[in-house]
């Protein structure tokens, strides 16, 4: 046996190492994750409320989710437009920015119970104030450039109360 063969056998070569790595299959996703994805796809909205206790629930219909995103998109487009005006003209073959939305999350920061009060019909209702932050992200797949928009929100939930 020559030196080369002996050396090749003694040292784990690169191909052998790659084969070893590729022979290991990544651990499968948990069944609950597939259910969560299915639920989000069925509902048509991925906006998730993180309540601080680890529970994630889809809470908004798609139409309401797109409303702030549309405003954020308009704002981003306006910013790009203003930046374009302030820069010298570029050659016409330069492609337009093609950012893709990749993430939209609403995180509940604080929830304050404001107690029970009576409405105009003298019916009891509980008011809960929710302070949250919406985060939307776009990414330009050509160079990985990221753009993030954060929208603070404050909502009051009105819940019916029964004293039975």
């Amino acid at each position: 046996m020559n030196f080369f063969t002996l050396w090749r056998n003694l040292i784990m070569n690169e191909n052998e190492l790659e084969s070893l790595l590729k022979g290991l299959r990544p651990h499968a996703a948990s069944p609950t994750l597939e259910h969560r994805v299915e639920r989000d796809l069925v509902l048509g909205a991925g906006l998730r409320v993180i309540d601080g206790g680890g529970t994630r629930e889809t809470s908004k219909p798609a139409a309401r989710w797109w409303q702030p995103v549309a405003w954020a998109g308009l704002g981003a487009a306006a910013a790009v437009f203003v930046m374009t005006l302030s820069q010298p003209a570029v050659s016409p073959n330069v492609q337009q920015i093609a950012s893709v939305p990749v993430n939209s999350i609403r995180e509940v920061i604080d929830a304050a119970d404001q107690g029970v009060s009576f409405n105009s019909n003298q019916l009891p209702e509980r008011h809960v104030k929710l302070v949250s932050m919406e985060r939307h992200q776009w990414i330009d797949p050509r160079d990985g450039a990221q753009m993030s928009v954060e929208i603070p929100r404050e909502d009051t939930l009105v819940l019916p109360v029964s004293f039975q």
């Binding site: 002996l6 052998e16 290991l24 499968a28 996703a29 796809l41 992200q137 990985g144």
Partner: protein, 185 residues
């Protein structure tokens, strides 16, 4: 295989097959950025839903964008200190998930998987990312370069350094890896 070439029609209900194919790789990639499997699954859920809503045909050419989304969401999640604090305060169930395995392996491969997982985890983040995306994600260096913002040469260099580092760490454990035994003269 759920993924299709561009312009090839598919059934929109194929998302499950596509998800089952992609999710393990995506979770493994996300676990390189976040601490727990639970967080990695949250990241993958958000990224996959967005991706599938945008590309309901499972366009293969757009898979790098899915990985880019996982990367972006993971990094954003990691930046949130509040999330880390909450995670540390979670119950023992969550802590237990931290030890979840990286690979689905047979009994014979268990030790190999453990050693490889430890070796990969010991890599610097940039090298671990390239190894994960190239070996288990199946992405090319060009695709990795595009989604990470690094040059192809940089990506290839990181891959080379990573392989060398893994080699240095795994070679002494060769007998435990099930690799061919060295030939003795």
């Amino acid at each position: 295989m759920c993924l299709t070439e561009p312009d090839q029609p598919t059934n929109a209900s194929d998302w499950k097959q596509c998800f089952r194919e992609l999710a393990p790789r995506l979770i493994m990639y996300a676990r390189g950025f976040v601490d727990s499997v639970a967080d990695a699954e949250d990241v993958v859920q958000s990224a996959f839903v967005r991706w599938w809503q945008r590309y309901p045909d499972g366009d293969r050419s757009q898979v790098p964008l899915l990985y880019a989304a996982v990367r972006s969401i993971s990094l954003d999640l990691r930046r949130k200190d509040m999330r880390r604090i909450l995670r540390e305060a979670k119950s023992d169930v969550a802590v237990e998930s931290e030890d979840a395995p990286f690979f689905d392996v047979s009994v014979e491969q268990k030790e190999t998987a453990r050693l490889v997982a430890e070796a990969v985890a010991s890599l610097p983040e940039e090298q671990r990312e390239v190894i994960t995306l190239h070996v288990w994600g199946g992405l090319t260096f060009a695709q990795i370069a595009q989604m990470t913002g690094a040059s192809i040469n940089t990506v290839a260099g990181r891959y080379r350094y990573a392989l060398n580092a893994l080699h240095r760490r795994l070679e002494p454990r060769r007998e435990d890896l099930g690799a061919p035994a060295p030939v003795t003269a």
